[in-house]
Symmetry: D2
Subunit: 229 residues, 4 copies
């Protein structure tokens, strides 16, 4: 399962450990056994989520392969309850591969920390051109430094945070839900939101009952909506 | 895969997420690609372990179902980088199910914090009888309290730490290696050691290359030995 | 600052790292400076709590010395984002020091996982006597085992979870707030609640503004109340 | 206590929680009391470190205010057992403040992941000029984007990772020792090493006994040396 994000990024599910039933199984060791049917399992998942018993959800784990700009990576890495391995700019060379937005955002007059997409076409065109040109120039400098014989780890300091990088990201569902609360939310940067939405979509497909219960009882963000069925 | 431990306990592997190759896969995102063969993978695993690059091993995760005495559980739970759900003594009743040792240990004259198995048969017999009787009495009191109508959560406070409990334990291999360093070691309590040895055996069967590299470069305990092949 | 808890336990504040201002100081590095007055600081603390920006509260840290029964310790230790050192039953001998309740709880007919304090005096008297006697017997067996020469680590397995133990517990305020959400709540065991209430009181005295903001915006439990001022 | 690092960075100790004695105090709760003298405390610290009993060192905590280039920040943030608040490029504007190296490193012919300082003056001069010019151009583009009305969070994506940022970093000594093992080591990037050395110096001044014991028994890096006294 792979979802394209931004102009050249992606979120790819490498592997999932367990499913909706894993949280139920872990919870039942606490509460003792009993008949288990899909309906009872669903009820138990709802019960756990509603009452804030989040620990059973740690036993479901997802591993993602993500391609994302450095400035988004800088936000992803702040979620400490997760395992990350990122492509190293010390050991590998950066390719001609960076993010260019297809829209321009200006400060939100109502919310000084937020931004809104501008409908000003002139501004949009000029700003995108400027961004593109600036990044290209930085990349040329990087390449010249490498040609001159400068070490990769030093040459890369001229590269902008719009450069794409890649990582493997393994995270349990409890921590993932916390991530979605913060990043699948209108207060997050727009580019971060796109990754959070892709991750939420994969989460929903792998653990539909847990996802439904999360949206109903645990979610504090404002972008994800429970679909009518 | 299930291994019996002590008189009535066990360690059962519920599920494993990934294998030797998962750490390699996560590491390669850092270093860039290249031809991969089993031989190269083995070398990379050895390289990572030797140089203390432990983060790729977080992407291999094991889930165990463990039955163990409370006094061992009290040590297991100290390993914080793991997910645990334990059977609740508030929601379920304790059964007639406790650990009785088949040997007796006396203080080690050489190491005041350690203990050694005594060969004194009289002491062994008398001490085991006394232990058994004391636990039985406690369990009778627990049952009487329940019969009188006392709540389970309160009645259980008379039960000894030799009672068996159960848990689901999900842990990544990096954290598991740290666990083995401390618990698969002669300084750990004998009963804890038995659980650590069972867990090490399952680890070896699931990830033979990683286990071998760990014993060669990362292991600081004194009980596990690399087998000649 | 020390608060007595249960019949022989206590919560003692050893040291506090920072105060209300520490979270403000950490947050201001994110948002840039500006005039700071007590009123502005209070507003910023409220803003952070209301919007779920909890990370600045990690920079306030408290260290407690706690004396508590083992069955309460077993719950405390489940909070993984904290540092604990507990008195060792392997290295030190248990003293004649255990918890005896001064009331008896029976199952709650409305909530099968809860319990209520009974007003039945006969039941109360008999059950308390039985608890006391059972623990005494266990402690006698422990002492006899030690006299016979059995190692402390093995002899202690007959001791009940009502025995008192001690620990040093260092925890940051963000993690402490999560602890209070779960343990300063009517769903927690009554004895655990008493410790949570004592800890909340110390938290309030050290960081009154943060505590007030927590109760207003972050607290999900049902025992703590914001006092009118 | 503040130490200048690189051309415009610094490491400043904001506050320290506890001292050498704090680990001793936490450890003594485990082992029981006894006479305490400075000599005994020193021996206990050595004992703990030598035998890998690292948990008591979690009770000593340091808070730093650090100014560092983004590419160093990206490495610092990987240490998950720590609390970080970083200046936000969404809420505040980047100033004309970036790192320019005073030397140039070229790939190490003996170690393909490492680099060595070149003595080639022509290369050094030209590469430094090129780095400086490239960063200046990026910063001009950033400023032009802001002038055009582009939101800060979007404009900043053209800025290079050599820009300085700031953070508050709270970390316990156990986690700090792990940090030093990896970063106060010749395999770390040179710029990262400079921060690690400054942090080690502050650690030594605050906790001289713990630092000495760490260097003697726990340190696996190759840059820090125990001084003859």
């Amino acid at each position: 399962m792979e979802i394209r994000v931004l102009d050249k990024g992606f979120v790819r599910l490498v592997e999932v450990f367990g499913d909706d039933f894993s949280a139920v199984q872990a919870a039942r060791v606490s509460y003792g056994k009993g008949l288990t049917t899909t309906e009872r399992d669903r009820k138990l998942i709802y019960y756990l989520m509603e009452h804030g018993h989040h620990s059973p959800f740690e036993h479901i784990i997802m591993k993602f392969h993500i391609k994302l700009p450095i400035f988004v990576m800088r936000q992803l890495v702040r979620h400490r309850i997760a395992s990350i391995n990122e492509r190293s700019g010390r050991y590998t060379e950066f390719k001609e591969d960076w993010y260019v937005p297809d829209h321009i955002r200006t400060p939100d007059s109502k919310n000084k920390q937020g931004s809104v997409i501008t409908s000003n076409e002139k501004l949009t065109g000029e700003a995108i051109d400027l961004i593109e040109m600036a990044i290209e120039k930085s990349f040329e400098a990087y390449n010249r430094l490498l040609e001159m014989g400068v070490a990769r780890e030093l040459a890369r300091i001229v590269l902008p945070t719009s450069m794409y990088t890649e990582c493997y990201w393994t995270i349990n569902i409890r921590s993932l839900m916390n991530f979605l609360n913060l990043r699948a939310d209108s207060h997050a940067q727009w580019e971060m939101q796109q990754y959070a939405l892709a991750i939420a979509e994969i989460f929903e497909r792998c653990c539909p009952l847990t996802y439904e219960a999360f949206l109903k009882y645990g979610y504090t963000g404002d972008l994800l909506k429970l679909q009518e069925r």
